[in-house]
Symmetry: C2
Subunit: 331 residues, 2 copies
């Protein structure tokens, strides 16, 4: 049974999950590309039996569950970091805290086409992927054991993907990840002082200063953060104050798909199809963060060597200023 453990010094929660060890290629110390073909790829149509039973899928022409004919498909991760069964229970060892590892870990396959990237999806199909995110969050919110849903995409081996076929992952958690907690704290402090949303103020400032703004449409804006940790790190915000991703309308998801597609195509062209991480930072299910939090996507391509001390120190050295990143992409 996986376990959630809290570091007594920093307060960081960690999932200890020995199930994950059985995952193929987990113990590689170098990055190796997944060389599966549609015949051997577990995420390809016809190979549905290679994955756990599906949670949801869209088959425009009909057809039974766990068969082909789908445009997107959601199923539990075969090597889940957390288990969905059981009651949440906390316990202690000495002065340490732990929780049993209750949660879900799902895979969202975004296209039946083995070689197609997220950026290459037609806008309508990309919008459908975001609708799946929305539906899964709304569904998991009903489960009172969970406080947070984290959705992320690892594209390519250097970004942590073991399977090349385009997919995202979802983890529902009984705790809030520390980086989101840090954002919540910063945003709450700002709100107390100014009675305004910090993210809204940043969006307005950057919109006027126009130094780190990359592109925008009616509903969304993409900019480089003022203090990015990585070269070509970007953040996508809804322009309107919106704490929760799942409250997005169909119209908004269409605008999101439109802008993100333009952005990813530009990234692929300028940086030669880099591996990347795309992470949804959303409001927790509970608490009063809805006043001051503002959902967003964080994007970072994997371009530089990982200086591991950055994990240990939280101190990032970035050789590319955000203004340079924006200039390079605007060319």
């Amino acid at each position: 049974m996986p376990e959630l453990r809290k570091d007594p010094i920093t307060g960081t929660w960690v999932i200890i999950s020995s199930e994950r060890k059985q995952r193929p290629k987990y113990y590689l110390s170098a990055f190796e590309q997944d060389l599966s073909t549609p015949a051997t790829c577990p995420f390809c149509p016809g190979n549905e039996a290679m994955t756990p039973r599906e949670i949801a899928a869209h088959r425009p022409g009909g057809g039974p569950a766990d068969g082909p004919g789908w445009e997107w498909r959601v199923f539990p991760n075969k090597y889940p970091a957390l288990r969905v069964e059981g009651e949440l229970s906390e316990s202690a060892e000495g002065f340490f805290n732990r929780m049993n590892g209750i949660g879900t870990h799902e895979v969202i396959v975004e296209t039946p086409d083995h070689g197609k990237s997220l950026a290459a999806l037609e806008p309508g199909k990309l919008q459908a992927v975001f609708s799946v995110f929305r539906e899964r969050i709304i569904d998991l919110q009903r489960d009172s054991r969970f406080r947070y849903v984290m959705i992320f995409k690892n594209k390519g081996a250097a970004a942590g993907a073991t399977i090349a076929h385009s997919h995202s992952q979802l983890v529902a958690l009984p705790v809030i990840p520390i980086r989101v907690q840090e954002e919540l704290l910063g945003a709450e402090n700002y709100f107390r002082l100014k009675e305004r949303c910090l993210f809204c103020d940043i969006i307005n400032y950057e919109g006027e200063a126009n130094r780190r703004l990359l592109c925008e449409n009616d509903c969304f804006t993409i900019m480089a953060p003022y203090a990015p940790r990585f070269p070509f790190e970007f953040v996508l915000y809804p322009k309107k104050h919106t704490p929760a991703f799942e409250s997005s309308s169909d119209h908004e998801l269409a605008a999101l798909a439109e802008l993100l597609k333009i952005f990813l195509e530009r990234i692929d062209k300028t940086l030669n199809n880099p591996d990347y991480n795309l992470i949804l930072h959303n409001s927790p299910f509970t608490g009063n963060s809805r006043e001051y939090y503002h959902w967003h996507f964080e994007f970072a391509p994997i371009l530089t060597r990982v200086a591991g001390f950055e994990w240990g120190s939280g101190f990032y050295i970035n050789p590319v200023s955000p203004e340079e990143s924006v200039r390079a992409l605007k060319k």
Copy 2:
């Protein structure tokens, strides 16, 4: 000129340093081993002209600076993340904060022997390396512009090293890295509540529970943390309450060398010479943290694929429990 920028949401400081881009191989998205030979390696004796002028070195048989004959050698990083010249000045852009990138970035070459690992150094030579750390910290403390010295070792390409020849790096900073700040905050809160050092209490608890203790001697102890982020993550503590590394006596540094050598040899044997990061977490120069902080080394081998979302979320999934790590190394 490099720049320090503060993220307005999380409070994280980042170094934006375009000088680092000129570093060879910076833009690799895959890990490539450094295949230099002693003839081409800039850290080998005889090639001193390939590095900036040395800050310190030990030549048992004498000899001029920047020539061969040394056992260890310290010089500025050729591609420094920070610049040592100038006054510290803060400025603002809109509601963002920045500082000019004043600091030092030094390289400590630990042995003249191109192929020798830190673990393979004779205990006396390993002790000498720790004495260099101590002397450099004491020297840099005199500079009132700095608040923190970070010393770290990236071993191997997967850990972020671009040069294979065994070395550590030192960065002196006008700010405290966020992970150290988190530790300081946790330790301060605990101290206020209990009037005891949190680290001392953990060391005592683990010493009695003996579930995550790996090895110890009179002065030091090495254990797996209760909530490790990585498989085979370990932490080394002085047993006596010691906030600052630089207050260690020669006797203590000898004991440190002895225990760390045993530990690294065991790691190399069990995990087949993994790439790793070793990071010194030390007390800041200023503030009253000396009551409640306790210096330590953090160690993590690079064994698993980097799931990049862990950077974005601060949420770590670890497939190996700390109890398993200890058992595997004790075999």
